[in-house]
Homo-oligomer: 151 residues x 4
Amino acid sequence: MTKTERHSASSGWFDGHMHILPVRVYYEDTDFSGVVYHAKYLHFLERGRSEFLRAADIRHQGMLKTAEPLVWVVRRMEIEYLKPARIDDEIEVRTTPNELSGARLRVGQGVWRKSEQLVKADVEACVITFDGKPRRIPDDLRARLGNFLKT
Amino acid sequence: MTKTERHSASSGWFDGHMHILPVRVYYEDTDFSGVVYHAKYLHFLERGRSEFLRAADIRHQGMLKTAEPLVWVVRRMEIEYLKPARIDDEIEVRTTPNELSGARLRVGQGVWRKSEQLVKADVEACVITFDGKPRRIPDDLRARLGNFLKT
Amino acid sequence: MTKTERHSASSGWFDGHMHILPVRVYYEDTDFSGVVYHAKYLHFLERGRSEFLRAADIRHQGMLKTAEPLVWVVRRMEIEYLKPARIDDEIEVRTTPNELSGARLRVGQGVWRKSEQLVKADVEACVITFDGKPRRIPDDLRARLGNFLKT
Amino acid sequence: MTKTERHSASSGWFDGHMHILPVRVYYEDTDFSGVVYHAKYLHFLERGRSEFLRAADIRHQGMLKTAEPLVWVVRRMEIEYLKPARIDDEIEVRTTPNELSGARLRVGQGVWRKSEQLVKADVEACVITFDGKPRRIPDDLRARLGNFLKT
């Protein structure tokens, strides 16, 4: 075989304020109905949010190494399933940060296959301690996130 | 070891119109934050709906063996995460059918640990063909589901 | 609806030295090929081991609350896939502890659907710290496990 | 935000006869012990095999569209867990086809984080019909796979 080019796992890219992460559909993502299992889109959306945070230089491992370790959790979500994805499909997770308050980050997310929208979601995330106590989003994280909001 | 009593996997029980399925939290359900991964609650909710359907004598395998094979899919969902569940916890999935129209079934669902509510969800499901075409819920299924609605 | 009887999630039972846990196959367990996704059997096997440990009065949460928190990890596994399970199937995970040394527990496991064996596995587990350092299985755990071995 | 460059999901590359797929570790992959859940490595390995097959121009969707639809299944696997991966880690799945007989494909696989090997696996896959009947690997697939074997 020829030697082909080495590269990293995709961390996605930006189109204006929208972060886009390409994702491939594998066996693990589908169910017996032949299409992607509905809960797996939440995995895809979480990958999109994690890569958006990475772009803002926010790492889960880093948040664990502070005086009070913190983790992001989803507080609420509305999700609409418009069309199904199938095995081998290449899809995109699109993430737009819409609102940042003291305690929560709200993002609009979508899953697309080329020009077709498959899933539409509105997600509210916040940070908690390992004991489950809610915390304000730390100032340095807020500053980094602020750069990615529309205004 | 002593021989202890043989039994089936739980299919849950009813308390009035509400179906209740007990679920144990395992390794697979948790993430590095120490609590249950947010998407796994959708698995638990789906198990609850499947057992509710089984109680109404509706089987996924049976729906595949008709002239036009059909499967249930989630059309939309609103979910609120109130408190986290942890490894070894025994929780309950509570499912109440709220509305049955020609094309969709709407259920209210919750995940509870004893008297604490952990998750609250509102779910709309419908049936589609293997090609992804929406179909009316077949009359025999509607009749069986009808018995479980409040009126 | 009638009120039917409340019960716990199944923790399985013993037939001699073999622990048996009944498991239902749900949407989440299947893939587009129509049968259970191969990696999901590892989830079922892990549930079987967790319930076997629970029967020996060993809890994951308890192991986290000691001076040096410990967790079980799989060190190696051989697995053979004989026949597929399908949606709605009720299957059994059968777990027999075969060997307990200072640092590892070896169990033979199988997944069965009535009298048909679907999967056969040989699993070696050990305990590590949260930093990933291997530790001897603590004496109190060893004592409790010892009761369940054949000799 | 600046507009950054569009790209596809990674399908990996070859280093001689070895196919390499980069994979990022997300929330969904970890468990409460702080590291990747042992069954998730089977997902990563499956992604590696799927991308290796894609490189050989073999698509799961294509195999469904023939006179007798076929799917790949794992027949047996030996897996050794050497070191754990953690959230945010970038790892590689390395897949080397070792043996192709009439009915099965045997691959050696590994999961690596830079120069550290985390997991080592030996996997036997074969093709079956939707009814679960074993079939010879079709000649056109065998021809395409043959190009990727060492001799």
